[in-house]
């Protein structure tokens, strides 16, 4: 029987290694797998490369990884939100590398990795500083930048409901980066609010097919207290 559910957060992340690339779902305070991020912090792997839209605020989520100085580099579209004190501190110290990527290019690069593509030409950032050093090309009169796929050793995502096959639904805008990161992780670990019996989810409304999810773990109640 296929059962991807894990018994503990620790088990779900046991094989993360120093230097791994880890994607973390979420946009602002929405759709972040905060329990998995906390488990990653406690696990203690160092020199991580984090791929995420934001860099965390206050002491929570990704900010807690920064505070513990577990992150070597962050690939991110919007690292500087109000309260991103740990990112700002490390950036000023030169203690963290930032790879700034326009948000649509970030999501498309993540999807390209999940879809097995070698790269794509996007018009975004053409003619700007963020295209410097990159291959560009004019196609049918319009300028494009060549962008490469972004793969990850682990993708940590947050779903709403999930089943033992790894099928997931999301809660409203909590979807954001989670479905595409699920595609791009060598190992994708999903934190969900509820695990439901296989066959319960509407097959027309599954937003992440289970094939993209390797491990699944439910948290007790909603994961908003820490957000």
């Amino acid at each position: 029987m296929i059962d991807k559910t894990m018994t503990s957060m620790t088990e779900a992340l046991a094989d993360v290694r120093d230097g791994d690339t880890v994607m973390i779902g979420g946009f602002g305070s929405s759709g972040i797998p905060l329990h998995l991020v906390e488990a990653l912090r406690l696990h203690g792997a160092r020199d991580l490369v984090i791929i995420s839209n934001n860099a965390g605020v206050a002491e929570d989520g990704i900010a807690s990884l920064l505070k513990d100085r577990l992150v070597r580099k962050i690939v991110c579209s919007f690292p500087r939100s109000a309260g991103s004190i740990w990112f700002e501190r490390l950036f000023e110290e030169g203690a963290i590398e930032l790879d700034l990527v326009p948000q649509g290019t970030l999501s498309e690069r993540i999807r390209a990795a999940g879809a097995g593509l070698g790269g794509f030409f996007t018009p975004t950032a053409y003619g700007t500083r963020l295209a410097e050093g990159k291959e560009t090309r004019v196609i049918d009169g319009r300028g494009y930048v060549l962008e490469k796929p972004l793969h990850a050793d682990f993708a940590l995502i947050k779903g709403d409901r999930g089943d033992a096959w790894g099928n997931l639904t999301y809660n409203t805008a909590g979807r954001n980066f989670n479905p595409i990161m699920a595609m791009a992780g060598k190992i994708t670990v999903a934190q969900v609010n509820t695990i439901v019996p296989v066959g319960t989810l509407d097959p027309e409304a599954v937003a992440t097919p289970g094939i993209f999810v390797n491990r699944l773990i439910a948290v007790e109640g909603e994961d908003h207290a820490a957000a």
Binding site: F27, G28, S29, S30, G31, N53, S77, F78, P79, R80, S81, F87, E88, F91, E92, L98, L100, V101, P102, Q103, G104, T105, S107, E108, I110, R111, T122, P123, T124, A125, Y126, G127, T128, R129, L130, G143, Y170, N171, T172, A173, G174, R175, N176, F177, N178, P179, I180, A207, E222, H224, A227
Partner: protein, 213 residues
Amino acid sequence: MQRLEPEQIAQRVARDIPDGAYVNLGIGLPTMVANYVPDDRQVIYHSENGILGVGPAPAPGEENPELINAGKQHVTLLPGGCYFDNAESFAMMRGGHLDIAVLGAFQAAANGDLANWATDNDRYPPAVGGAMDLAVGAKQVFVMMRHTTRDNAPKILEKCSFPLTGAGAVRRIYTDLAVIDVTDAGLRVRELYSGNSLEEVQALTGAPLLPPE
């Protein structure tokens, strides 16, 4: 000279949002535009994090912590709205499916160049978000900003001095002094707010202005 308050600029932009338009309102001032669109027009707001049909703020206590807009504010969903992932959300932008994006700006140039994501302060970490995708993708990019900096230096220039968000992206500029179209012939004043003369506005603008047609 007549300087509009931000709410009045938002009101002026709102007059140009047609019925049935798909619109993305940038973080900050542009968000206010939604408050002034006439009730007889149905406008569908897009939020880059994966929402079409963004509705007003929820009543206190009714917030869904996951349901936020690009500005990280709690919102609601209108009947007819829906959710999707970030790649699809940006496919909507980059693929030319949005009718209008209203963006704030540090600078806009006579050739349509837009600078709204970075200044030249290297110590302060940069952030770009979805601005560059909106700049290249929306069918029409409207800029909404004060005409000048706090020091009365022009923000509308021949050429942006700050790093670009997009080249040739801007279609129209709404400031507290005037509405200005970016045309092949150059910047053309579309509307001067009552009491402002072309000469006065020109004096606060870093590129030549053509008179209203």
